[in-house]
Amino acid sequence: MALTNGTHNIVVSNLTKTFGKVRAVRGINFEMERGTTVALLGPNGAGKSTTIDMMIGLTTPDDGSVSLFGNTPAEAVRKGLIGAMTQTGSLIDYLNVRELVSMMAALYPSPLDVEEALRISGAEAFADRMTRKLSGGETQRVRFAMALVADAELLVLDEPTVALDVEGRRDFWTAMRAFAARGKTVVFATHYLEEADAYADRIVVIAHGRIVADGAPTEIKATVGGRIVRATLPSVALDELRTLSGVTNAERRGDAVTLNCSDSDATLRALFAQYPIVRDIEVRGAGLEEAFLELTEEEDEGD
């Protein structure tokens, strides 16, 4: 990716944050171009939220810096360049949805039309309802409307679909895409590979406070989207199994072996061909968590 002018982009350099003994973020670096959508993908506790909080100025980093189109996070907030939906947070009461979104709109220099924000976010249907009478999913839509109404250059979404059902999720991402299509820059955090794959131009994988992979969705999918093959196969050396086609790692527990595979089809063909005694074969998708762990372990070894 050619980055022509640093001040027109988002530059996150060497972000570090420790809470007590927990090293939440351990040196995060990435750059993104204006107008692109980047997903921060990682398991819970990976440091995504802390990274996002530092990007929008809610948390002060121990070390490192963030430049948002040439501004510090505090400057960007003051200029109304950020519209954000943090991971937690509820709404204040004694206002209906439309009033609340209007209240937020009034704080920004060039907000979106309130009705349009309500429509895009799917909060239009209950715009006259008091905030305390909303369900979890409805609250989430209102929070999205509040982030949209800023019409800010940068939209930051921290696990925005957690409280939504399948249909709500689809609607949410459709809306996000429509917003991004207006030339906006979007950063979102998620622990679903499918979401990152479907809606981001680029995926930054974070685990244990570090970037463990960074690239186009197809590349990331190949890296972390592997399969796991389990089978009963006594008395075959692990080193031998590790050389099988498509195998990235092998472990044994008694007679059972577990093979991490980048290409499980190739592995299965090789297994049957070389070890006819193999039985009880079970293939499943590797959980992201496992894939991340493996990536981090590799990283840590390089320390």
Partner: protein, 242 residues
């Protein structure tokens, strides 16, 4: 312009909160009518009893109004609303200013209600006496507004009710809002260091046509400065923690 819209919605939220209205408007009014009503024609310490009691209830009602307004920050912190606001261009001081404004609005409403009730039970003051009284009350409420903001950062919504109820009742009681407590001695000297004492006295002082003695201004100023410093500290501690 934009901040005026924000303020407008804060005001709307204030008057839609019935519990808040009840405590800062209805309670002092009911107590005033119940106690002063039957004793219309009596006097205490040379002041007509309804007037004496009116100033006490005005002090209490307005004190509750401004403290409660700032203290509402507590529940907004709990639901993560203050975090949400910190990523908008709204400056922190505007957020606090809006809370103080709403508290004053409610305090002025509380004054009006009790003054009108007072005029029905025989309180008569000249226009200049009204002005001096209202003016002094507005100044005397400044430290309480700041204390409210401090409470909003120190307390959880659960502990807020008892804490505010207890503090305001104690301050009002010691300040003499419910009746004269002492007439002299060391205890009076201590009580005179409380802002509530001067808040209660604002009405009575107005009777003489003059304002507060210098001592009053010093006490109010000192409480404002100290509570502001404390409020800034708890605010900073609170934002660092998140």
């Amino acid at each position: 312009m934009t901040q005026l819209t924000y303020l407008r919605y804060e005001v709307i939220r204030t008057y839609r909160n019935r519990r808040f209205l009840l405590f800062s408007l209805a309670f002092p009014l009911i107590l005033f009518l119940a106690v002063a009503g039957p004793h219309k024609n009596q006097s205490i310490l040379g002041i007509s009893f309804p007037l004496y009691y009116m100033t006490g209830m005005v002090a209490w009602g307005t004190m509750v109004a401004v403290i409660s307004s700032g203290a509402r920050i507590s529940s907004e912190r709990q639901v993560g609303w203050t975090r949400q606001l910190r990523i908008t261009p709204l400056p922190t001081w505007s957020y606090f200013a809006a809370k103080i404004f709403c508290g004053y609005l409610m305090a002025i409403l509380s004054m009006l209600v009790i003054f009108i009730a007072g005029s029905f039970v025989g309180v008569h003051l000249t226009l200049s006496q009204w002005f001096v009284m209202v003016g002094l009350l507005l100044v005397g409420l400044i430290p309480f507004s700041v204390l409210g903001i401090m409470f909003g950062h120190l307390l959880t919504p659960d502990s807020l009710g008892p804490a505010i109820g207890g503090t305001t009742s104690l301050l009002a009681l010691l300040g003499g809002a419910y009746g004269p407590l002492v007439n002299g001695g060391a205890f009076l000297a201590v009580v005179k260091c409380l802002p509530s004492y001067w808040l209660v006295l604002a009405g009575k002082t107005a009777l003489g046509g003059g304002g507060w003695p210098l001592e009053a201004w010093i006490v109010i100023a000192a409480w404002t400065v100290v509570s502001s410093a404390l409020a800034v500290r708890v605010y900073q501690r609170d934002t660092r923690k998140i």
